[in-house]
């Protein structure tokens, strides 16, 4: 029967109705368009001109060339600089992973057990609105080392997000899925492992995406306040020592670090949800 071909959803190419012939998208993704290129070039040119003309606050800012020179001369080959990357990455990693390891099971537990939910969820709802940075002083008082307290704050940044996401998603699992699994004879354990867990994976992914972004935000601020290492500290020291290029080197490094982490999280998420491919 040929009914299959006509029934399969044909995914329309995502071309806009400009009347132009559609560009092959796969290639287009790697070749930046002339618009993208010129907008980035214009940004740097404009930045450079503002600094040259010392327009307002730009009098205190380094030019792109100064930043690039400073980076190549003093940072690219500097072990200290790369240690800053390592320090920040470690904190993000520990805090983020701990948040997932504790948050996912807790979300599942509260989502599936009404009794525990009634007992513990209100506390989570109460603590959740407190911004992670508000935990800084308490965290420093509580933990024996600064390192631990920064990791803890990072953890807080991702923890509530993942708990709430998993919890809400367990509670919105389709009844039909649970009923069907039961009518086909699945045991409660099997339903938990094979229906509930896969159902919440998309929400875990969302929690991870949001979590990694918050984690970087938090770790940078925490480093500026409390630490003597990391990319946040590097940026802050640039300001304190009036070395303009360092401030910008720090900013770019942080942006890049956040971007790289998001890429890794995206890859992990794709691996978790093979059924979402091409969707």
């Amino acid at each position: 029967m040929s009914a299959v071909e006509e029934d399969v959803k044909t995914v329309p190419p995502a071309g806009r109705a400009t009347g132009r012939a559609l560009r092959p998208r796969r290639l287009g993704r790697f070749l930046p368009s002339w618009r993208a290129t010129s907008s980035v070039v214009a940004f740097f040119v404009l930045w450079d001109l503002m600094v040259r003309w010392e327009l307002g606050g730009f009098a205190h800012i380094s030019s792109p060339l100064a930043v690039a020179t400073a980076f190549v001369d003093g940072y690219l080959a500097s072990a200290d600089y790369w240690m800053s990357w390592w320090a920040s990455f470690q904190r993000v990693l520990y805090g983020f992973v701990a948040a997932q390891l504790l948050g996912i099971p807790l979300g599942l537990l509260l989502g599936t057990r009404p009794l525990l939910n009634g007992l513990f969820y209100p506390v989570i709802e109460m603590l959740r609105p407190i911004p992670p940075l508000a935990w800084v002083p308490l965290s420093i008082l509580f933990w024996p080392t600064t390192e631990l307290s920064i990791v803890f704050i990072t953890f807080i940044g991702a923890f509530f997000i993942i708990v709430i996401n998993v919890h809400d998603s367990v509670r919105s699992i389709k009844n039909e899925h649970l009923w069907l699994a039961r009518s086909m004879g699945a045991s409660p354990t099997r339903i938990f492992l094979r229906v509930i867990i896969p159902s919440v994976i998309p929400s875990i992914a969302v929690g991870m995406t949001l979590g990694i972004a918050v984690t970087w935000n938090v770790v940078i601020a925490a480093e500026m306040i409390a630490s003597d290492s990391g990319l946040g500290r590097l940026t802050w020291e640039g300001y304190v020592s009036h070395t303009g290029p360092v401030v910008i080197i720090g900013m770019i490094s942080i942006g890049l670090a956040g971007y790289l982490s998001t890429l890794v999280v995206d890859i992990v998420e794709k691996k978790m949800m093979p059924w979402r491919k091409g969707h």
Binding site: M1, S2, A3, V4, D7, V8, K9, K174, E176, H177, W179, L180, A181, R182, S183, M184, G185, A186, R190, V195, P198, S199, I201, M273, P274, W275, G278, H279
Partner: protein, 296 residues
């Protein structure tokens, strides 16, 4: 079992996907069934004194307006919810009484209105889920039977390794019916399965469903509010009304089997449809009048 999935099973001589003909199972009796929802003292009667008799292997359609308790009745038969009076008996075994805890089983699988394939499993994994969970078939046996049955239901074996969200809603619904059939059920419960579909896809689905019914004849209870669909598919159409939700009348469909789309334009079909629609409207008017009286 992942390794074997890609390979295609050649169409064997086995008809009906290796499913045994079971002409003697699937006799359902719903006797005086009622369901009162009583959340906080305010009793809501969803279904009252409902009687349905279905012979083994019959195709019965239940039609009625939204909110008349069709789904409540379906959930009771499927064992998803309790009943508050009466009894439901399948092949002499009581399925539901007010004393029995609801107990779903692979002998009566539901195909839901909005579809409930597991999106994280491929078509083949969805379809083999039942027999694998029950341990009734080995991986290979389940695989072979699934591929046969999928193939017979309009060449679905070609999409065995696809994930459901990548299929059209029509194909998803067919896969779902195959998944139900894989459990070798005594009775198939279809709860408005083609509701959200356009007329053209619906017609295609009717053809497929009739084909499946011919190939592996099972008792089918088909809930719908589309009268034409009911007459075209079923042997018997039951009319359910609201206030209270109960079966009021039933109409025997005298059209011969196998059904073909030509019948849709025949005089006999038109006659039956008119008769059904007249009865439905009359019952709806009565129900409305009862409702008005209750309100007063």
């Amino acid at each position: 079992m992942n390794s074997g999935m890609a390979q295609r099973i050649p169409e064997g001589p086995v008809a009906s996907g290796g499913m045994a003909e079971r002409p003697d199972v699937g006799k359902l009796s719903v006797r005086g069934v009622g369901k009162i929802y009583d959340p906080e003292g305010a009793a809501v009667v969803a279904v009252e004194n409902c009687d349905v008799e279905v012979e083994a292997g019959d195709f019965v359609a239940i039609v009625g307006p939204s909110g008349c308790g069709k789904s409540t009745l379906m959930n009771a038969i499927a064992g998803f919810d309790t009943i508050t009076s009466g009894e439901i008996i399948l092949d002499g075994v009581p399925l539901a009484t007010p004393e029995l805890a609801p107990r779903p089983g692979p002998d009566r699988v539901v195909v839901f209105q909005h579809g409930a394939l597991f999106p994280w499993k491929t078509v083949l994994e969805n379809v083999t889920y039942g027999p694998m969970v029950q341990g009734k078939l080995s991986g290979d046996e389940a695989h072979t039977r699934a591929m046969n049955l999928l193939g017979e239901c309009g060449g679905l074996d070609r999409v065995a390794d696809t994930y459901p969200p990548q299929l059209s809603s029509g194909m998803q619904r067919r896969v779902e019916i195959v998944r139900a059939l894989m459990n070798d059920p005594s009775i198939l419960l279809l709860d408005e399965p083609f509701r959200a579909m356009d007329t053209v896809s619906k017609t295609t689905m009717h053809r497929h469903l009739l084909q499946m019914y011919r190939v592996c004849r099972r008792t089918i209870i088909f809930i719908t509010h589309d009268l034409e669909e009911a007459v075209f598919l079923a042997d018997k159409v039951m009319i359910m009304t609201s206030r209270p939700g109960t079966i009021k009348k039933s109409l025997d469909v005298t059209l011969s089997r196998p059904r073909s789309t030509d019948m849709l334009t025949s005089e006999e079909f038109r006659e039956l449809k008119l008769q059904l629609s007249a009865t439905v409207h009359e019952e709806a008017k009565k129900a409305f009048a009862r409702g008005e009286r209750e309100q007063a």
